[in-house]
């Protein structure tokens, strides 16, 4: 960093690499925008560290808020034991009381399992369950979705942002996925955004550019890097200087900057800059995504 006269860093796609970068950046007092998920990166706030992806906790809060609106207070949670499902399970359990939600049954499955009807039969036999929440990634959530239909569990069914892609509908089958709700980012439902949506221009531009260049559909992860770059260039322009301290102050003063993940407003106490509007509540209807709000 000293040799190259680095003034700012974007990077750290995993929580592990971010944590080791973070110590170096903080020591050298160089602004650092991380692309990793864990809430520990910015909680407690460190002066020079920021991040662009939303957290598992926000996904839980978004889901619980939607449940609260529907008058749901007692739920089952079924989670994969993988690196996505387990941390989200812990975050959801931590914030559930804030929304007056009681987790009656807390089931888990191995992401490689072929059948989850045993766990779901326990849910069926539990008195008072009003909704099911599945946190997981990959094949597991699709199998859970099919098993819910197989057992005719007629309850509101929530999935996590881990499966917010067209692949999920295809794997679970449009029939079984009917009515499933989950929080997703604007990037994945670019076509559904209202014309006056603040994120619409940036999402459309990024999607068009990415798909033309690579020929593959956009993913949420590329969007994190896009947003970090956007925040950094915006801050450097406003600072009018390439001094690390000036850039840091300008990033912290970012306000209402629309990215692909959400609209960023940083403060001295908030180095994530997103609120729950970064997530859109989606529902699958007739094999297609629809916006609930």
């Amino acid at each position: 960093m000293e040799y190259d006269e680095v003034v700012a860093i974007i990077g750290g796609t995993t929580t592990g690499t971010t944590m080791s970068n973070l110590a170096v950046a903080e020591d050298a007092e160089i602004p650092f925008i991380s692309l990793a998920g864990a809430i520990d990166i910015i909680d407690p706030v460190k002066p020079f560290t920021f991040k662009t992806p939303h957290t598992d906790r926000m996904a839980c809060q978004k889901i619980f808020k939607d449940m609260q609106k529907a008058g749901i207070t007692k739920i089952d949670m079924i989670s994969g034991t993988d690196g996505f499902g387990a941390p989200m399970q812990a975050q959801c359990k931590a914030v559930a009381p804030d929304y007056a939600i009681e987790i009656l049954t807390d089931e888990i499955y191995d992401p490689k399992d072929a059948d989850m009807t045993a766990q779901l039969t326990r849910v069926k036999g539990t008195e008072g369950v009003q909704a099911i929440l599945n946190s997981g990634f990959g094949r597991g959530p699709s199998i859970v979705t099919r098993n819910v239909k197989q057992l005719a569990l007629d309850l509101p069914f929530y999935q996590s942002h881990g499966v917010a892609s067209d692949g999920f509908i295809e794997l679970a089958g449009a029939d079984a996925a009917e009515g499933v709700r989950l929080p997703g980012t604007a990037l994945l439902v670019a076509d559904l955004l209202a014309a006056d949506d603040p994120q619409k221009p940036v999402v459309d531009a990024y999607k068009a550019m990415f798909e033309e260049k690579t020929g593959t559909p956009v993913g949420t992860f590329g969007g994190y890097a896009h947003d970090a770059f956007l925040i950094m260039t915006d801050a450097i322009t406003r600072a009018g200087s390439a001094e690390p301290a000036a850039i840091r102050d300008a990033i912290e003063a970012t306000s209402g900057l629309a990215g692909t993940t959400g609209v960023y407003t940083f403060t001295a106490e908030d180095h994530l800059g997103l609120d729950l509007t970064a997530f859109r509540m989606l529902e699958i209807q007739g094999g297609k995504w629809t916006l609930v709000e």
Partner: protein, 290 residues
């Protein structure tokens, strides 16, 4: 009552998958005492090639046939290119070679098929069948039927046909088998083709339930291997019983105790069985003259 039945049906569904994979281990093991850790990759290829052929427009039965034949050919190639050149090596070295082959196949599959998860439609629809308040998917019946059919076929092959006995004789003593006129290189080639074909058939039958991606092989191989060890390596009856037993144990533990202990309970039972019956439930007792 209907809860117990649902736990059992869940266990039988999972167990049939394990049994079908475990059956694939038996032939190569019987011919050469080698546990083929690339068996899970054969299962993956069966599902994956079917997906590719099906999305390319082939009808499902044809796609499945293509997958089974192609995977069997790959099994033969594996024998010719990786196992035969190392023929004189101890069994442990051959087992390590199969692990290498499995890593190689997984790597190539990742490049050829991509990292996406795939599936194809169930053979008889997705409407669950209701039995006394519990449910089972028609595809599970296909898997159970497939496992039983492969078991009957293997049992007849090893006990009723000359060729099957030639396989057993080759395993027992390769030199003696050659001396009585058994073409042992052909027996080895045949055993790899059959094992790979059975693995691919397993992949075709289970993919509508479990879905498939380039990296599912390892999980199949581990659980199938555990089932085969529980029942007795090399014995088709052991593979069948071991698979169903493992599945039902998992289902009952997840249902009555906790899903957290599902895998642990199954492995504790396996450890317990192997402690008292090191050959597994139906394994052949080996006596060595010293």
């Amino acid at each position: 009552m209907s809860e117990l039945l649902q736990f059992l049906l869940s266990g039988v569904t999972v167990g049939a998958v394990y049994a079908l994979v475990a059956l694939g281990f038996t032939i190569i093991y019987n011919a050469s005492d080698v546990v083929n850790f690339a068996q899970g990759e054969f299962v993956m290829l069966g599902g994956m090639i079917t997906v590719m052929a099906y999305t390319a427009g082939a009808p499902l039965p044809l796609a499945a046939l293509v997958a089974i034949v192609a995977t069997a050919a790959l099994g033969v190639a594996m024998n010719k290119l990786a196992i035969e050149p190392a023929r004189g090596a101890p069994v442990v070295s051959l087992v390590i070679i199969t692990i290498g082959v499995s890593i190689f196949i997984r790597g190539v599959a990742q490049l050829v098929f991509g990292k996406q998860i795939h599936t194809f439609p169930a053979f008889s629809g997705d409407d669950p069948l209701h039995i006394l308040g519990a449910t089972i998917l028609p595809q599970s019946l296909w898997v159970i039927g497939g496992a039983v059919a492969v078991f009957v076929g293997l049992w007849a092959f090893f006990t009723r046909t000359l060729l099957g006995r030639a396989v057993l004789a080759t395993s027992n003593n390769r030199l003696a088998a050659q001396l009585v006129g058994i073409n042992t290189p052909f027996v080895m080639t045949l055993s790899f083709a059959l094992s790979a074909g059975i693995g691919a058939l397993a992949g075709v039958l289970v993919t509508p339930i479990t879905m498939t991606s380039y990296d599912v092989g390892l999980a199949f191989a581990l659980k199938g291997f555990a089932a085969a060890m529980l029942g007795g390596m090399g014995n088709p009856k052991g593979a069948l019983v071991g698979g169903f037993l493992l599945g039902v144990l998992e289902g009952l533990t997840a249902g009555y105790i906790s899903s957290q202990y599902k895998d642990a309970a199954a492995f504790i039972v396996i450890l317990g069985v192997l402690f008292f019956l090191p050959q597994g439930l139906f394994g052949r007792k080996s006596t060595d003259r010293v």
